[in-house]
Amino acid sequence: MKFIESVKKDFNTMTWVLIPVAIAINVVMGQIVVTLRLPVYLDSIGTMLVAALCGPWAGALTGTLSNVIWGLAIDPNAFPWWPVAFFIGLVTGFCAKGGLFKNWWKVAVTGFLVALTAAIVSTPIAVYLYGGITASGSSFITAYLLQTGRGVFESVFSTNFLVEPIDKISTALLAFAIIQGLSKRFLARFPRPENVEIEEGATRTQLFIAIGLVIVLILIAAFVLVNFLG
């Protein structure tokens, strides 16, 4: 019962009103990125905002409904991917709860963890529903890996792993920049303002740590990938 109580506390009126706006931000950002022809999606900024400000379950709900609405209104192909969005919200929420949404390099770590989760969750969907090759452009990498004689799971996961981190880390950083721009008074009305209390420190040093950390993380993960799957 304690669990349900704590989840309920995260859903106050501000949360319920923020969720539609966050979903709209997801959708419209996805379209702006297409207009600017950038090689990322950035379609979970809203989800990450809600997850950081209102807790993991609110984030998970935002992600799920985001995909449902994307399917309802824009492209029915979006429906089957809702578990990915669910976990993006959930993981961001838990990271924020654990204090990983307080300065630049911590946010980059959050982005990386989210990317890892997204890669893991989307792999079985791509494999079982689409037979490995989906309709996105990155499928050419998967197809190439399949041709070199690797297994379906391995190929799909490696592809996702190549594509996701850049997207999710920049999404997390943008969400953090937005939160930084909001007033403390406004943030205090959400259920978890303590998640995003910004740690003071030299911004430039933090940024360098962030970049270094991301490179190290990607190297480690690539190493693991090559050694245990390859």
Binding site: I32, I45, L72, P76, L129, G132
Partner: protein, 261 residues
């Protein structure tokens, strides 16, 4: 600019007058059947004897084929081509060139997969063409879905077009003062901040006002709310729903039977 964001086409038809939940059952029924059936030609048959007749039954064939050719066919076509080219395995080589070998198995596999995706997406499309979102939401709320979910879905469908309009205004305004949104990659990344900033902050400011407004209208009240519209739920609806459940169970059972025998 679209006023509201949905596929819905207002018509009088037997499919339109079905209960929204029944239509959801039909959608999930078709999708499940195409995925769990052990028979290879099920998805193809479902399209021919299920989805296309249903689109005529719902009097939306023209709209349906338009959406299908714009959204669904490109995706499933791409899937088919990619999978028949790159799916490894199979022994009956149809033809090969460069480093690719296309086998009969991979073509059949790709075809079935593409058709499954076609069934999935087109049955959802059909559902969306014949069901108004608020009709679906009020029916689900009546059956026990918390009102907050209905609020989120319906108000999002209203906010998105507003926000798209706002985004277009911002893009036009920033371009007119010389923001570069079309040249080099670095400039386009740089353009992200002056576009996203006003849009996101502008819409977040409204959140607080809206929270106070709906709070004042009893949003968090736990009493049962009455609805202005009655959504019919006839015997036909119930029969269709139970029929579909039985059909799915039967297909599932047949799968196990065929595998074990």
């Amino acid at each position: 600019m679209q006023e509201r964001l949905s596929f819905y086409v207002k018509r009088e038809s037997p499919l339109h007058s079905l209960n929204p939940l029944t239509k959801l059952f039909i959608v999930f029924g078709l999708v499940l059947l195409s995925f769990i059936s052990p028979w290879y030609w099920t998805p193809h048959a479902l399209i021919l004897i299920g989805i296309i007749p249903l689109s005529f039954f719902g009097r939306v064939p023209r709209e349906f084929f338009r959406v299908a050719s714009r959204l669904i066919l490109p995706v499933s076509g791409f899937l088919f081509v990619m999978q028949s080219l790159f799916q490894p395995g199979g022994t009956n080589v149809l033809f090969s060139f460069w480093f690719l070998t296309v086998t009969l198995e991979s073509v059949l596999y790709g075809f079935a997969n593409a058709m499954r995706i076609f069934v999935m997406v087109s049955s959802f499309t059909l559902f969306l063409l014949t069901t108004h979102p608020s009709e679906l939401m009020s029916d689900l709320t009546r059956r026990g879905l918390p009102g907050q979910f209905a609020y989120v879905i319906i108000s999002t469908l209203q906010i998105i077009p507003q926000m798209q309009a706002k985004a277009n205004t911002i893009i036009a305004a920033q371009r007119s003062r010389g923001l570069d949104t079309e040249s080099s990659f670095r400039k386009r990344i740089g353009a992200l901040v002056p576009l996203v900033g006003p849009l996101v902050f502008g819409s977040l400011v409204e959140v607080e006002e809206r929270a106070i407004a709906i709070e004042a209208r009893g949003f968090t009240s736990t009493h049962t709310k009455t609805s202005l519209y009655e959504i019919p739920d006839s015997t036909v609806d119930k029969v269709v729903r139970w029929g579909l459940i039985l059909l799915i169970l039967f297909t599932f059972a047949s799968r196990f039977f065929i595998v074990s025998s």
